[in-house]
Each structure stands twice: as structure tokens, then as C-alpha cells.
């Protein structure tokens, strides 16, 4: 038989933590800081809205773009929260999570041979999604010295004639780094001068602890060359409902809508009904969750530094990204031994790309009780090295 699997599917790497899954399965009392999702349940009023939509028989497809009241509510919210204006009729698509939004955004802009700069460390699916379109992902490492922000000089060095766009994600998974308005200004000239398009994944935008989030599209010079991705998973603890959205200038959005209608048709109807409720009255519970994440962050980062794992204070998302270099172990060795010896699961930073090596990602979206137990075990582990 000939090779049935396409070359593209062959070259994309498998998940970097498969073996960690296998180890966890053999253990009982693992505290997992390896989870990239909130530990809170979806607010109950939001769940009720989902249940009610089923009871009402609203179980058919929605329009390709998604429910109109939901798009209108999202547009209002983006304007109020970040000062970015999108027309809900022509510049927005409700998607099946931000994952789908990312996929169709990349397919919208990439032709074979195009180079796409990817600020790293980053969410694991950006480079493979670029590869699958025939494009070439080019890493732009963000370093601890820069507090994991995108450095304009590093960015400039990577730009070639083939560069078509840049993917950024702030607040960042896995580093917790954020880009303030001034930081975005520092890269916007490069973006404009080289005529690049920006894909900005802002799914953690509501989870900032020291300042308000700045949306890339809120910079006037970037507005018409930015595709904004966001969703409900992180802010409203709605990961399993699979609701995200893509906003872009009409020409880009029209193209993205064609891809969306062929590959997805529409986002889940039940999830859209629930998301609408989250938009209408989820504010208070969202704020309570953010306050709790802030408390946990302070506790956990303080604890990490106390046990000797140097960690800058992450300003957003729910990840701490301490350096493990001083232990003499690589990030993969550190994570594997910590799991085997102390039953604490963290993710090695190198799986998130360049700039991640020598760090581990610890999600503090777990109870305070589990956080302090994890710190105790990590302290014991470091003592034992």
C-alpha cells in the first residue's frame, strides 16, 4: 500500500506530553497544575440558559455567522471593554471555540510558501495550523528578560519578503505575559511598514490582574489589518461549550465566513444560547472568578519564589511560568521527575516553542488548598535534587 497519510499530517508533531498522560494514569493522588482551563463550574444561570434552549426546542442550526443577539451583545461588550468596534452583521463570526476561529483565520490569510511569525512560547496549535495551510511558521521568541513581551527588534530580524502576518496571544498562554498599549505601539510600525496582518488571540483578555487589557485592534493603525479572536471559555468557565468568535474587517471576515460555512456550518446552538446569557448577566460571577485568580496568583508566585523557583509575576491568564534552570534539570526532566516523585503535574515549557525551554507551566486554576499542597510537594522535590 502507498502512504495514505498526507505529508502535512505527517510533518506536524504529536503532542509533546503524551507520555505524561500515561504516567498520570498510573497514579491516584496527582495534583495537576497541567490543566489549561478554569476549575470553576460554568455559572449556573449560564447552564440554565443552555438547558432552557434545549427545552424550547432550539436545537437546530443557527445562521452561519451565529445568533444575531449574541453577535450584537459581543459587539457591545468589545466596544465597552476595549474600545474596539466591529459591525456584528459584517465583521463577526461566532465560532466553535477560539480553536476554530484560529484555524479559519490562518486559512483566510495564508497561501503556500507564506511565512507567518509566531510569538513564542505559545499555545501549541499555532505552528501546526500554519503548516497545515502550506505556510511556514517562524518562531519569534519572547524572553523572560522582556517579561515575555514581544520584542520589536527580535520581530524585525525575522521579517522577510515572504512574511505575510504575525500571530500574537496576550495575555499569554503559557507565560502570563501581557502587552500594554505602549508595547503594542512598539511593534505596530513594523507591522504597518511591512504590510503584515495580525492574528491576535485574546481569549485571556478578561483575566488581567494589574491593568486593563489592550486589544491589538484598538490601535487605529492596526484596526484594519487585525483579526481579533476571543471567546467565552476562560472568562466564563465555559471551555466545554465551545464558543468563540472571530472579528475582522469585512473583506477578511467575508473570506473567513466562506471557510467557516464549509468546515463548521455554525457553532453549537446550545452553547450560543448559554454564551448569550453569559454576556447578559455573567459580569458579577466573572469578576468574582478574576478576584479569586488574582489571590491564587499572588499566593502561588510568592510560594514558588520562596521554594527557590524564580518566577516573574504573571500579569494575566492563569499560568505561572517559573524558571527551573537553577535546579540543573531540563524542563522535561524536571516535569517528569516532579510527577513521578511528588505526583505534581506541570507542563514543560519547551512544548510551547522557543523561549519556553528551562521553564515549566503551572496553571493556578486550581483550589488554594491544592495550590499550597502542590507548593509543599514542589519544595520537597527541590530539596531532594
Amino acid at each position: 500500500m502507498r502512504e495514505f497519510v498526507s505529508e502535512k499530517a505527517r510533518v506536524i508533531p504529536p503532542s509533546g506530553i503524551r507520555k505524561f498522560f500515561d504516567i498520570v494514569l498510573t497514579m491516584k493522588d496527582v495534583i495537576s497544575l497541567g490543566v489549561g482551563e478554569p476549575d470553576f463550574n460554568t455559572p449556573w444561570n449560564v447552564c440554565e440558559a443552555g438547558i432552557y434552549s434545549i427545552e424550547q426546542g432550539n436545537t437546530a442550526y443557527t445562521s452561519n455567522r451565529g445568533l444575531q443577539p449574541l453577535r450584537e451583545a459581543v459587539a457591545r461588550n468589545l466596544d465597552q471593554a476595549y474600545g474596539i468596534r466591529y459591525d456584528p452583521e459584517t465583521e463577526m463570526i461566532i465560532t466553535t471555540g477560539v480553536s476554530e476561529a484560529l484555524d479559519i483565520a490562518i486559512r483566510t490569510i495564508v497561501d503556500p510558501g507564506d511565512e507567518i511569525l509566531v510569538a513564542q512560547p505559545c499555545y501549541v496549535s499555532y505552528p501546526p495550523c500554519v503548516t497545515l495551510t502550506g505556510g511556514k511558521p517562524v518562531a519569534v521568541p519572547c524572553t523572560e528578560e522582556d517579561r515575555f513581551r514581544l520584542n520589536p527588534e527580535t520581530l524585525a530580524e525575522r521579517i522577510t519578503k515572504k512574511t505575510k502576518g504575525v500571530i500574537i496571544n496576550f495575555p499569554n498562554n503559557p507565560t502570563g505575559g501581557v502587552m500594554a498599549e505602549g508595547d503594542l505601539r512598539a511593534i505596530s510600525d513594523l507591522v504597518v511598514d511591512n504590510d503584515l496582518v495580525v492574528i491576535s488571540d485574546e481569549v485571556y483578555s478578561e483575566l488581567t490582574y494589574d491593568s486593563r487589557h489592550t486589544a491589538a485592534a484598538s490601535l487605529p493603525e492596526l484596526r484594519d489589518r487585525t483579526i481579533t479572536l476571543n471567546g467565552f471559555s476562560k472568562a466564563y468557565s465555559m471551555t466545554g461549550w465551545r464558543i468563540g468568535y472571530l472579528c475582522a474587517p469585512q473583506a477578511l471576515c467575508d473570506a473567513a465566513l466562506k471557510i467557516h460555512q464549509y468546515v463548521m456550518l455554525c457553532a453549537p446552538t446550545i452553547g450560543q444560547a448559554a454564551a448569550l446569557e453569559a454576556m447578559r448577566s455573567g459580569e458579577e460571577e466573572k469578576n468574582a472568578m478574576v478576584a479569586e485568580y488574582r489571590v491564587r496568583r499572588n499566593l502561588f508566585v510568592h510560594g514558588l519564589n520562596e521554594i527557590g523557583l524564580k518566577c516573574h509575576t504573571p500579569e494575566g491568564a492563569f499560568y505561572a511560568f517559573p524558571s527551573v534552570k537553577e535546579t540543573g534539570l531540563s524542563d522535561v526532566e524536571f516535569a517528569e521527575r516532579l510527577l513521578r516523585e511528588q505526583h505534581v503535574a506541570v507542563v514543560p515549557g519547551s512544548v510551547f516553542g522557543e523561549g519556553g525551554e528551562g521553564h515549566v507551566r503551572c496553571a493556578y486554576a486550581v483550589s488554594r488548598q491544592n495550590l499550597s499542597e502542590a507548593l509543599k510537594r514542589m519544595g520537597a522535590f527541590i530539596e531532594s535534587i
Binding site: I17, F20, G34, V35, G36, N41, S125, N173, H302, A345
Partner: protein, 163 residues
């Protein structure tokens, strides 16, 4: 009261035994400042008391709780205040509220058994001047009290690793 005070109250309401040093770390402020703020909250009686939330049924010291509703004729000049003050002196009365609706006052009364509760109501509360009508409602089971669940709820499952 500012935002930091509200955060302190939220954290103490959740667990009033949280050490001040830990509160300081959580809030990103100094321990002295936490002490000073808590002292003010206590002095101003914004924090009324630090107490345990006890599940009596589990403790086995079974007590009977009842909600007693009263129709009361208000008093000139004092309204409901004087009679409420009198009723609140009984240790059996755990909480007392003035309500809108059919009845005026609502009491939560506890006793060792049903007889004790009904004797208390019929001998001490019902005969009081100005009380026109009473209704006694026995509490059968508590599911949630002051925001605390009294039953185990299965947690939703999460994958041990996700990106």
C-alpha cells in the same frame, strides 16, 4: 471601605482562620496593613463575629429548627422595634427579621425537640401583647446555609493535562 477591604471580607467570610500573613500575600499588601484594616473592620462592627458553621445533623446533637412567622400590631412611635427587641432576647431565637408580605416578623427558633419548640412558641411568643397570629413551620432538612452546601456534589471532571 475600599476594594481591599471588600477582598479581606470575602476571604474571611470564606475562612476566618486564614492567617494574617497569608492574607497579606494574597492581597499583595503588608501584614501590618492587613492587621490595621481588620482591626478597623472589627471596631466598626462590620465584622460581627468569627464563628464555626456547624452541620447539626452530622454532629448528632439533633436539634429541631422552625421558622415562626408572626403578625404583629405595630406600636405608635416605635413601630416593630420594641417588640422585636423583646423577642430577640430569648436565646431560642436564632434570627429575627422584619418582612414584607402576609406576616411581619420571621423568627428562626431552635430547640431539642418538637415539644420544646412548640411550648416555647405557645407559652412565650404567642401570648405577647400585639401578636395577633403565629404560624410555625418545621424545617425538615437543610441543603444550603449561608452559602455553604450541606451535601456532597460530584465535581465535574477535567483532563489532567490540556493546553
Amino acid at each position: 471601605m475600599d476594594e481591599t477591604d471588600s477582598e479581606i471580607l470575602r476571604l474571611l467570610e470564606e475562612d476566618c482562620r486564614t492567617p494574617r500573613s497569608e492574607l497579606a500575600v494574597m492581597l499583595g499588601i503588608g501584614e501590618d496593613e492587613v492587621r490595621r484594616r481588620v482591626a478597623v473592620l472589627e471596631d466598626e462592627k462590620i465584622i460581627r463575629k468569627y464563628a464555626a458553621v456547624v452541620d447539626r445533623e452530622k454532629a448528632g446533637t439533633s436539634i429541631v429548627s422552625a421558622i415562626i412567622e408572626l403578625k404583629v400590631s405595630p406600636e405608635r412611635d416605635y413601630g416593630y422595634d420594641r417588640i422585636a427587641e423583646r423577642i430577640s432576647r430569648f436565646p431560642q431565637v436564632r434570627s429575627l427579621r422584619l418582612m414584607t408580605g402576609t406576616y411581619d416578623l420571621q423568627l428562626l427558633v431552635t430547640g431539642k425537640n418538637m415539644q420544646e419548640v412548640s411550648r416555647f412558641v405557645s407559652e412565650h411568643i404567642a401570648p405577647m401583647d400585639r401578636i395577633r397570629e403565629t404560624a410555625t413551620i418545621i424545617i425538615m432538612k437543610t441543603y444550603k446555609e449561608n452559602g455553604n452546601l450541606y451535601f456532597e456534589r460530584p465535581e465535574g471532571e477535567r483532563l489532567p493535562f490540556s493546553f
